[in-house]
Symmetry: C2
Subunit: 619 residues, 2 copies
């Protein structure tokens, strides 16, 4: 796949070891590719990828960098990326939904190649600008879209409080005399932390703090807070700011912590769209419930969660591409045991059982995430343009929130399990850094706990479901405008149904079936526990069906991968290239690595001519 | 815990946030500690730990090192560790089992603190010496215990063949004229690879190659092969050797690859205990089946697998220690919802459900691994000292092999899942490098695919079980001298049993019960699939019982952790210290890290005084 001028071009793959399976496919991969992704979005992604590929600032380092150097590179790359103004210069003229879809496609392209930079951008530019627009008023617009001049960050989490946002202890106390807010951090436990861009780089912060006027607390509110002098990058007096230090991964991001000691900001720095403080210290709110103001502020984070879903979907696709292509080329053992005709791993039932459900998941979830993003953006667009049906809109926002709160865990946990299985399915070679499975795993890892801990998020969905369930059972109206739980209405009928074995309809595609059955398999026990069946054959049939579906998926597997996979530049794995030249690529990667075959500079330190016995007597 | 002179001393923990739970325990942790571990083994471990802690060569770096520097440090540390001659100077005088248990305890101590060094040592010194002793004869003894003078490596895996050892293609062809073997690598796919110590450091290799005499192949045999000049560390002519490059983790180990081009070694370098080649090229074997020779050679790897089991058990203990101590101190949300009295995470059923089964697994598997190592060493000792009951001995070796082949996957996969769950249960702070959960996860990661891929190993156990099953069903004698599958004999009776609910006997300890029930829960579907029950209440009861056991385990949980956990120096986690001063420790770690609060040296590169709009017009 390439972008020539303004046209997407799909070239055939070079002949090679993957041909055997490519030839078996019952469809054209190019056609399926455009089913998995909108042509316009593919084009903008290709534009981003080609730009990065040709820019020396985005050259991938040959050896592992130091943590400091990683931060330096990511910061420089971020500046460059902001300068590029993807997707286009006049983006603000486009309507909201179109604009956001394009921006999200750019984020996907950047995230799948330079995840650290993408997260820095998402937090410091996109999320910040969005929040200013949503929560601020005209007087804050100068902060939005400030680009490189004012890189920002979002300071919410504290050392001792993450999920329980209500208990955060950073305060912003209004001082009528000077018409300023005094920001204060009582102790280290209340230090804001994990703030991306804050450790080394950003100059302003969007800070969430408990707002106090006249000794009364009004709950968390958002403030624009200058952190560092943009000309010297020195923090302002009254601020203690620093870096969180080394992490398991994503070390290009300067996650930081910050403490304030009676630090003053102008009254106007409160984002006052939903609530304001008058010059003489009166608190005025358009909401009656302070909890709802916080809710509105935090709802902004949902967009971040949808972005995470897209990123996990991409990482899942990359991982399964690597593992399935490897499995189609790597041979081990033969069916007759004498080794004359060794079989590719993909031919083994066990290997299919391990990988194909994730291949199916990658395809199904790709489609789901695309559709869900559409629904999400439509709802947001409606919510800002149209307020006549406020009740229905509120219901839609609640339902969207409930869906995001289970979809983000589903995507990130599926990606977590898939990257691990793919790593193992590539054996020792999967442990090579240039196989890239380690990076995919580590990039996905924080997603299961940030922007809402998965285990806490799913409880928010449960909470919403229980509310709907209660409504249905007490004769009230179900509040599910998007239809995600309208089946509650028919629950008496559904609960009465029992297991009965039928043959699979050929209307449905194999990957959808396989994903469905592998989900059934994961939760099979609940069908017995819930009384849907007591027949052992259901368990047997589900497992047998999965094996049969794997067998039927095999001839199409490489073509599905080709349709899902981004270009080799993006996959960036020695094991997963589209040319199928596994061993040639491995040989080049290993033997051409800097210093691979040279004696280490420190060789003399480990050469010891003292005989061992003399060493022994020394002790 | 400390070692004072020759005496183990158990001091009380300093008072702190963990006291609440420590006081609830129904037993003394010090007593339980000596149940989990033999006092003598604890002593030798403490001796190793104290030595490392006080040696500047083993100082832990404050910042992430470069890959090259990691290799350098590990190589220097390895030399130093060899010099220490743990467990004691006269180790060779001790009887086999005692000696090996002590050596394994030292390996555990080193592995839990400096895993890279421990693996380099295990491969380059221990495994090499063992193989020389087992497969070599008198003429090879000069290679064994050669210490720093001749660091070795074990070259078995090839680029294109790992699990399928029989298909390896490196050859050793005997040349009668010169009485030498000519080692040859046909192409890169046959390059030996992943060989620990080979990349930069080692001077000799234990090489497995297909032995040819008079144009006939006799299968894989082991050879001692000089690789580099020990005085210059330059490879000998005819050898292409290099490093595998960067890996996902364990980058202190110089895993290498090697190719031979008509490289000659003396005839005497064949390890000839089980088979030899006469000067004029006659192949003589004490086995009739070449497959069995290979089997005997590879059986040596079992010891490595037992070592991996111990290491995974230790990593599991470290991970669960960190997560449970964190959960006992970290508070979030309150039961009444207003946040006045926030509850420790450990009080939440969900958190207990996530962690306590792994706490139980850590305790149960610790005991299992200790006992299994005993059984294993007894069998090996018997096999070398006594050959009168050869048949019974063969059966024991087969059964041990079958047990190792499922126990290593059980331990490493449990540790894999536990480290991941613990990382997630510590939220964002678990993503800090100084939390150490990332390192524990990454150190365990290769264990699931090396020394036998887990998925392949479990099939070897299945294979053995099927053979026994066939024997029982065809009226032959069961071959299970260790009793692991004697229940097959009563299979008619067992299969006839059906589920029936009984209350739990209080004879059994809670952690054993919890581990048992959580294993049942994982495989619950098979009880329905196999017809053991069709009653939904079994599933309900198992899950309910787990929750009840978690509740009962809670008051003892911290004391069990205290009994299992090694000293803080070994846990080495900012989240898991025994003092329970979570936030104080976090503050110190974060604010005292080098450069945490200073402006980066490259700050000018990211300060841009060009206003954004001008930047825009530049484009």
């Amino acid at each position: 796949m390439d972008l020539v001028g303004d046209k997407l071009v799909f070239e055939d793959f070079a002949p090679g070891a993957l041909d055997t399976y490519r030839k078996q496919a019952k469809f054209k991969w190019k056609k399926l590719k455009l089913f998995f992704e909108d042509e316009e979005m593919l084009k903008i992604k290709m534009k981003v990828w080609k730009t990065l590929e040709n820019d020396p600032i985005f050259e991938r380092p040959e050896v592992e960098l130091t943590t400091d150097e990683k931060k330096r590179r990511a910061a420089r790359q971020l500046r460059r990326y902001v300068d590029c103004m993807f997707p286009e210069k006049d983006i603000r003229k486009l309507p909201y939904k179109k604009r956001t879809r394009l921006l999200m496609a750019c984020n996907e392209a950047l995230n799948s190649t330079f995840p650290d930079v993408s997260i820095k951008y998402a937090l410091g530019v996109a999320l910040f600008s969005n929040t200013i627009v949503t929560l601020g008023t005209d007087r804050h617009q100068r902060f939005a879209f400030a680009g490189n001049k004012m890189l920002s960050c979002l300071a919410l989490t504290e050392i001792a409080h993450g999920s329980n946002t209500k208990q955060m202890r950073t305060t912003a106390t209004y001082d009528e005399k000077t018409q300023e807010f005094i920001i204060n951090t009582p102790d280290f436990q209340a230090a804001k932390c994990w703030v991306g861009n804050l450790g080394k780089q950003c100059t302003i912060a969007l800070l969430f703090a408990q707002l106090y006027t006249k000794n009364q607390c009004h709950g968390l509110h958002a403030f624009v807070v200058p952190i560092r002098d943009p000309n010297t990058l020195m923090p302002y007096p009254g601020i203690v700011v620093g870096d969180m230090g080394e992490k398991i991964g994503l070390n290009g991001i300067d996650n930081g912590f910050i403490m304030f000691k009676n630090y003053r900001i102008p009254r106007e720095n409160l984002l006052n769209r939903t609530a304001d403080v008058t010059p003489d210290g009166e608190y005025e709110s358009s909401f009656t419930d302070p909890g709802k103001i916080l809710g509105a502020a935090l709802e902004n984070l949902s967009m971040g969660r949808v972005g995470i879903m897209q990123e996990s979907s991409n990482n899942l696709i990359c991982a399964i591409t690597i593992a399935v292509r490897y499995a189609a080329v790597r041979k081990q053992f033969s069916s007759n045991g004498n080794g004359d005709e060794e079989l590719p791993l993909i031919e083994y039932q066990l290997h299919q059982w391990r990988l194909f459900p994730y291949l199916a998941a990658a395809a199904v979830l790709r489609v789901f995430v695309n559709n869900f993003a559409e629904t999400y953006l439509s709802t947001v667009e409606k919510s800002s343009s149209d307020s006549t049906e406020l009740e229905n809109l509120n219901e839609m926002v609640s339902e969207i929130h409930a869906m995001v709160c289970c979809a983000k865990p589903l995507l990130t946990w599926t990606c977590r399990d898939a990257t691990q299985e793919c790593r193992e399915a590539c054996g020792g070679h999967g442990f090579l850094k240039c196989a890239r499975l380690g990076e995919l795993r580590i990039v996905n890892d924080p997603c299961v706990t940030y922007e809402g801990d998965n285990n806490v998020l799913v409880q928010q969905t449960s909470n919403w479901l229980l509310r709907q369930w209660h409504a249905v059972n007490s004769g009230e109206r179900l509040s599910s405008p998007l239809g995600s739980c309208t089946f509650f209405v028919h629950h008496m009928d559904i609960v009465g149904r029992k297991y009965c074995c039928r043959s699979i309809s050929e209307l449905q595609t194999i990957d959808c079936l396989l994903y469905g059955f592998s989900c059934l398999d994961k939760h099979l026990i609940y069908f017995y526990q819930g009384g849907y069946t007591n027949d052992p054959s259901m368990a047997v049939n589900v497992k047998e069906t999965i094996l049969q579906l794997c067998d039927r998926l095999k001839p199409d597997s490489i073509a599905i991968i080709d349709s899902l996979a981004p270009p080799d530049y993006v996959i960036h794995s020695v094991l997963g290239k589209s040319d199928g030249k596994l061993y040639e690529n491995l040989q080049t990667a290993i033997t051409h690595a800097p210093g691979a075959m040279s004696r280490p500079a420190w060789w003399q330190e480990i050469v010891d001519t003292t005989p061992f016995m003399k060493l022994q007597s020394k002790l």
